[in-house]
């Protein structure tokens, strides 16, 4: 174990973090948007579309992300050339993003759909009877009630997305793993254990940070707010009782 070496390569490895973060952010935002569209289509149950969507989701569920990455990287140029489009210089980063977007579109819809179905029918009816438009209904009634159900699953999905991003070095993107291979090639294969231990620690830190972020979001959902309010109220009640008791005592004295 050479801790000095680990500290030495730490800045080199972390300098490639922006490219991973770019892939993570783009594919999480666009993937979430795609999954919202897919969830909406699945809930609507359109006749010919829904078997296709089910097939898409079961396909994404059963193939490894690494294989999907290769399929997109080698397959998309061929697919586009069938449509007479020249996409031979599709960059590796774009294919990685496309892979993660279509993968997360399916994966997140498996989280969002149960969350939507968990909202009671009465809530929809109440909103309708009060005359809300469907957009306002979703914004004010459905999403606040979906959030506490969906957020733990979404947090896990972010962690898995970070894990999956570590595979993009296999199609030649220089992210942390790619940089590690370069460093190992320069040092003639010495200190491999230290390099990968450093990478593991970096990923651990990133995942802990994103866990914190999701916890912060969870604290803003209405369920947690009610809990906090109750806890605060009972606390202030106790404080109030304490003070009044003291006052009564001092009065008696």
């Amino acid at each position: 174990m050479d801790i000095g070496y680990m500290i030495e390569i730490f800045p080199k490895l972390i300098s490639t973090l922006p490219i991973s973060l770019l892939i993570i952010l783009t594919s999480s935002i666009l993937g979430l948007m795609l999954s919202i569209v897919i969830t909406a289509l699945r809930i609507k149950r359109i006749k010919f579309l829904s078997p296709i969507l089910e097939a898409y989701i079961s396909f994404m569920r059963s193939i490894p992300i690494l294989l999907l990455l290769f399929l997109v990287y080698y397959g998309l140029p061929v697919f586009f050339s069938l449509l007479n489009l020249n996409m031979n210089d599709l960059s590796a980063i774009v294919s990685a993003m496309i892979t993660l977007i279509i993968f997360n579109g399916a994966y997140l819809s498996e989280i969002l759909r149960p969350a939507y179905l968990a909202v009671e029918k009465g809530q929809h009816e109440a909103a309708d009877s009060l005359g809300y438009t469907s957009f306002t209904k979703i914004r004010k009634f459905i999403i606040p009630q979906m959030a506490p159900v969906a957020l733990p699953g979404l947090g896990n999905a972010v962690i898995y997305l970070i894990h999956d991003t570590s595979l993009v070095f296999t199609i030649g993107i220089v992210d942390i793993m790619g940089k590690a291979n370069l460093i190992m090639a320069n040092s003639y294969g010495e200190n491999k254990v230290e390099v990968f231990l450093t990478i593991a620690i970096i990923y651990w830190m990133v995942c802990l940070l994103s866990d914190r972020f999701i916890k912060l979001c969870e604290n803003h959902t209405y369920l947690r707010k009610i809990e906090n309010k109750r806890a605060f109220n009972s606390q202030s009640l106790k404080l109030h009782q304490k003070f009044t008791k003291r006052n009564i005592k001092s009065n008696l004295d």
Partner: protein
């Protein structure tokens, strides 16, 4: 551009490694279930020192991608094993370590934490009344465990266990990085031989999809049966 004859040929060639992959995955599943049970017991009884170590391990395994873990084990395991062999004074040649052993150990450790959650959940899902009823009938602890808790917990955990089998089969696709040939590794080799990567990858995807559909079908059937009861 896309040749269906090549696709068919590559599917047949890739299918030859499916049994090996399945056996490897089931072996990893059983090993990780065993380790998961031990972890669940340690957490349930809050064994000092061990439960703290497991907490850190849980956080570490949750935060580290499988690729990084696999490479870490691949390079660190010979050293670790040589160290322990030195303590126990056993002759051990670190270079003779088969990469399959590394794959099995890495994924068993990595998934044991998840299995422990499944096991804990399934045991907690059993009603207390069941255990009390068994006790009132004069069952010993071991009898209660074997005749009341295990059958119900297994039934409750079965869909989750099948799901984690699928997850392990998918995770095994990383094994080709350390030269263990599974479905994806075979697809890469077939593609490299014929310079037709795309057909080989599509074939591999179809095989994975078939496995996934079969496993989902079994677990759905089982859940339906579970809901209607085994009578």
């Amino acid at each position: 551009m896309f040749d269906f004859k090549v696709l068919l040929e590559s599917i047949i060639e890739i299918a030859t490694v499916v049994p090996k992959t399945l056996v490897l995955a089931i072996f990893i599943l059983l090993l990780s279930l065993l380790m998961g049970a031990i972890i669940a017991l340690i957490q349930q009884y809050k064994v000092p020192v061990f439960s703290q170590i497991i907490k850190v391990l849980q956080s570490f395994l949750r935060g580290t991608p499988n690729v990084v873990l696999l490479y870490l084990m691949y390079y660190a395991l010979p050293g670790i094993l040589t160290f322990f062999a030195g303590i126990l004074r056993i002759e051990f040649d670190a270079n003779s370590l088969n990469p399959i052993v590394t794959v099995i150990l890495t994924f068993s450790i990595s998934y044991s934490v998840f299995q422990s959650e499944i096991i804990r959940g399934s045991i907690l899902s059993i009603e207390k009344g069941q255990i009390e009823a068994a006790q009132s009938l004069g069952f010993s602890f071991w009898q209660t465990f074997r005749r009341v808790i295990i059958p119900q917990a297994l039934v409750a955990a079965f869909p989750d266990i099948l799901n984690s089998l699928l997850v392990i089969i998918k995770a095994l696709s990383l094994a080709y990085l350390i030269s263990v040939v599974d479905i994806l590794g075979q697809a890469k080799m077939v593609g490299a031989l014929s310079y037709r990567y795309l057909e080989a990858f599509v074939g591999a995807a179809l095989i994975y999809w078939l496995i996934g559909v079969i496993l989902t079908f079994i677990s759905n059937r089982f859940e339906l049966k579970l809901r209607h009861g085994f009578h």
